[in-house]
Every structure is written in structure tokens, then in C-alpha cells.
Symmetry: C2
Subunit: 323 residues, 2 copies
């Protein structure tokens, strides 16, 4: 049996240990939390120079990426690789606007699977313009603009990104800095192989583009971005239904003088977006199965494969999915 | 002063508390770790369904993605979007093999900027085949195979991914499960709009492909994957220099009977890779600057822009960058 004094001592020492243990527990928690974030963000196989930590992402201005699209054999392939690129860009809201009466189910499934924040719109051209070139990309872009006017965050930026273009992720960080209207070069445009604003002494003085034709803003659709704030200040800004003059008409309606456009991408000396075009491709069909003499195809995977490929049950209503 | 007995009691109770505190500390640490990973993985703007945790990635089999490529106006655009897709796939080593005497600097810069683990090879066709169709994609694929035989991890998987195809990230998780040779459908191939193995009772019994021409393995280059282990067991496996018979020749040399090929992508009922082709585009040139009457272009951004676009200082040696 130890003395009462010794017991007091032991009790005191043990209390101290308990106190330190509790403080240590708290400190360890914080350390592990910090360490785990670093680990997860930087793990091998997903080294991403532009990856951002949670707090940084939350304070970033949102980018509203508007993609007009239409049903065709290469659509899923093009939208898939664009979605892959957008998954690398923080704080993007993807507005996919279809030239259709109802939104399509395969596109909806793709959007859901991407994990991106998105809005899917259906905005067909008027019946009188169906099959004509004149309505192409006009009414679905207008629908996206209407959605933005109603729903977008005022500090956001809008970018029109066609589904078959190619994007270096750096272009999105340039876009994010737009005050009113920012401009930058686009590769693979027409005969010159590039379209770019001409910059002299830090200001836009004109446009190097193979298609001038009296255009004041001779740019490609992928060559500019506009802030939501600025769009809201121009209630009449819209796309005209005039072939080859979509960019010209829209940028004009934004009422920013050429010299006040904001040159980006290292003063318009870098190409970080390309106007690529995907070659047309053949549509799968049940006729091919018959022609190829696979009459017994219903006992194989080919029936289900074609069911998936030909699936286009239209969904009814526009959908939005924001986290 | 409390009694010795009471002190003993207090000491005993305190010991119990200390014991529980220590166990609790351990449990909290684990909980915080798990919670922090979930938080980081799911933060907004980067929601990625396939994102994997560190430990999971480290035990994943590596995928060696072989991309043969050649210098052309659309090359940077195509490689950029492929690199974006690969950045989403854990544990990829990208082997970019150029049909050139020296590796090109723009491709090298792209690879470096991607943050991916990569190897850049230069493997020109023999002088006698320059300008002919027959050597296309043969010698640079062979160089990649030679590199793999020397350097690859034995538990890896090899996939031949052309730079202008489109990939759903799900296809890579299918590829990763390859035992010897796995096969799956490819979209947008030739007249049928798809190329697919035909599966009956879970086994490959033939191929649905518009180009049969006596091929035993009528597949697209993007429609199969082979394990490193199996390749190593076939020291003579290689690509033949025979137009349109690259897949046939290579898969034949792997010596796996058709019925023993491993069907993937939900028993070959899903298309998660497309044989897209990028339309040819014009090359930028200084002539265009002159033609467009921008004689004063040297005072503007256009000179530097074209310097970047026309840059193709060849780098000397193949490079590898593994983290």
C-alpha cells in the first residue's frame, strides 16, 4: 500500500498526462485533416497543375459555359470529350442547349454522369427555319442567354464553347478574369489557320481573320467571353438570325468599343482554344445488321448494343442540376 | 484531505478515463481521415465520379496508353484534348510516339504541362516509305512496344489510343481489368457506324465490322487492350507493315483464340470509345500575314503569335518523365 502523498503525486501526474493527451488529440485531428487533403489532391496519376483546394474554388468566379448542340452521329463523342475537359475546370456551370423540341435522354445521361453542375435546355428553331442554315445555333444560344439573365450569379463569366472545339484548360483561367468583354486567339480558323485580335500598345486595334466581310468584330465564337454583369447591363444584347454574323451581331450588341476589349492569353500571343471540326460519320442502323447477314443477332450482344446506340427517347423538360 | 481509499478509487476511475481517451483518439483520427478524403474528393466544380483515393490508386494496375502521332495543323488540338481526358484517369503512363527523326518541342511542352507521367519517342519510318501510306503508324507503334518490353511494369495493361479518337473515362477502368487480351465496341467506325465483337453465351464468336476482308480479328485499333504480361510472353508479337491489317496482324501475333478474348464494356453492349476523325485544317503562315496586308505586323502581337504557332524546333532525344 503506497502512502497518501504518493497517490496524490500519481493522481497529479496522471491528470497532466490526460490534459496533454486531449490537446494532442485535437492537434492530431487538424494535422491529419490537412495532410489528407494534400494527399488526395496530389496523388499520382491525377497530377493536375490547375487543381484547386476547396476554399480557393469557393471564391472563384463561376464560368457559364454555353454549348449549343444538335443530334447527330458524332454528338456523344464530342460532348464526352468536352465534358472531360470541363471536369478539370473548377466552378463551371455547363449550359447545354439543344436545337430540339424536347431535351434528349442520351445527352441528359451524359450530363448526369459527368458530375458537372449543368443545365440542359431544348430550344428548337421556328418551324419555318427547320432544315435551313439561317437558324443554326441562334435559338439555342438565345435560350441559354435567357436562362443566364434569370439564374446566373452576377459575378460570373459567360463563354460560348462549341462541342467539337478543343480547349487547353488554361483558356478558362483567362476567361475567368473578364471584366466586360475579353478576347483571345482561336486556332485552326479558316484559311489563315488562326483568328486573332490585333494588339498594338496593349490595345485591340483590329482583327486578323480570313473572313472580314465588313465585320467590325471579326472574331470566332470561341474567341471572346463576356461577364454576366455586363450582359445584364445590356438588356437587348442577343444573337441575330443572320448567317456568318452571329459573333459580329452579338458582340456589337454588347456595346463595348474595339479598343476597350480586354486582350487575354499573354496579350493574344497564345492559342489555347482551337476551332476543330469533327468529320461526319455514319449512323448505326438495324439495316446494317441485316445487310451484314447477322440474322441471328437477337441471340447476341448486337441487339442490345444497337438498342443503346439508337436510343433517343426524348425527355420532356429542361433540367438543371446544381450541387 | 481525502482518505487513501477514496484516492485509490479516483486513481482507478481516472485510469479508465485515460484508457478510453486514448482509444477515442485513435478512432477520431481514423474518422477525420475518412471524412477529409470525402470532402476533398467531392468539392464543387471538381465532382468526378471516378476519382480514386490515394491507397486505391497505388494498388491500381498501370495503363500504358500508346499514342502514335505526326506533325500537322490539328495535332496540338487533338493531343490537348486527349491529355485532358487522360488527366482524369489514375495511374496512366502516356507513351507518345512521333513519326519523326527527332521529337518535337511543342509536343514535349504539351506533355510537360499536362502533369501526366509520360514517355516521348521519335520513331520515323524508313526513308523508302516516307510519303507512302504503308508505313503509317507502324514504326512508332513498334517503338512504343519496344519501350514497353524494356521498361513497363509486368502487371500493366497496354492500350493503343489514337490522338483524334474520343474516350469516355469508363473505358479505362474496363481496360485495367485485362487478363490477356480484352475487347469492346468502338463507335463511329466506317459504314456501320460501330465495330464490335459479337458475343454469344458470354464468349466472342466473331466481329461485326464493315471491313471484313478475310480478317480473323476484324477490330478497330481502339477496340482491344493487352496485358504487359501477355505481351512479354510473346516475344515476336509486333505490328506488320501492311496497310489496313495492323490490328489483324498484331492481335494474331498475340496468339489468343477468338473465343478466349475477354469481352468488356457490359459484354460489348456499351460504346465508351469513338473513332472520331478531325477535319483537316489550314496551317498558319507568314504569307497570310502579308496577303492580309498586315505589313506592320511586327509592331503587333501577330509576329509573336505566329512565332509560337510556327515553332517547331526539334528536340534531340526521347524523354521520359515518371513521378
Amino acid at each position: 500500500m503506497v502512502s497518501s502523498k504518493a497517490l496524490h503525486m500519481i493522481l497529479f501526474v496522471q491528470s497532466l498526462i490526460l490534459l496533454f493527451a486531449l490537446r494532442r488529440m485535437r492537434y492530431t485531428g487538424e494535422l491529419v485533416l490537412r495532410h489528407a487533403q494534400e494527399m488526395t489532391v496530389n496523388h499520382p496519376g491525377e497530377k493536375q497543375p490547375e487543381i484547386h483546394l476547396r476554399n480557393e474554388v469557393l471564391t472563384m468566379r463561376p464560368i457559364y459555359v454555353v454549348t449549343p448542340t444538335y443530334t447527330r452521329p458524332t454528338q456523344m463523342a464530342d460532348l464526352t470529350r468536352l465534358s472531360n475537359t470541363l471536369r478539370l475546370v473548377p466552378n463551371v456551370h455547363w449550359i447545354v442547349s439543344e436545337d430540339r423540341v424536347h431535351i434528349s435522354k442520351p445527352v441528359q445521361q451524359l450530363l448526369e454522369h459527368s458530375g458537372l453542375s449543368y443545365t440542359q435546355l431544348a430550344a428548337p428553331r421556328p418551324a419555318s427555319l427547320v432544315g435551313k442554315v439561317i437558324g443554326r445555333g441562334v435559338f439555342n444560344r438565345r435560350a441559354a442567354i435567357a436562362w443566364i439573365r434569370e439564374n446566373a450569379s452576377e459575378d460570373g463569366v459567360i463563354y460560348f464553347a462549341d462541342d467539337d472545339n478543343s480547349y487547353d484548360t488554361r483558356i478558362f483561367e483567362e476567361i475567368r478574369q473578364t471584366v466586360r468583354v475579353s478576347v483571345f486567339p482561336v486556332g485552326l480558323v479558316l484559311r489563315y489557320g488562326v483568328s486573332s485580335p490585333i494588339i498594338e500598345n496593349g490595345k485591340v486595334v483590329g482583327f486578323f481573320d480570313a473572313f472580314q466581310a465588313g465585320r467590325k468584330y471579326a472574331m470566332d465564337m470561341a474567341g471572346f467571353a463576356v461577364s454576366v454583369n455586363h450582359l445584364l447591363s445590356k438588356p437587348n444584347a442577343t444573337f441575330p438570325a443572320r448567317v456568318s454574323y452571329l459573333e459580329e451581331g452579338f458582340v456589337k450588341s454588347l456595346e463595348v468599343p474595339v479598343t476597350e476589349l480586354e486582350p487575354r492569353a499573354e496579350m493574344c500571343t497564345r492559342v489555347w482554344v482551337w476551332h476543330t471540326r469533327t468529320e461526319k460519320a455514319a449512323k448505326p442502323s438495324l439495316e446494317n445488321l441485316k445487310e451484314a447477314d447477322y440474322l441471328a443477332y437477337s441471340n447476341t450482344n448486337l441487339e442490345k448494343l444497337h438498342k443503346h446506340l439508337l436510343e433517343d427517347s426524348s425527355a420532356d423538360k429542361p433540367t438543371t442540376n446544381m450541387p
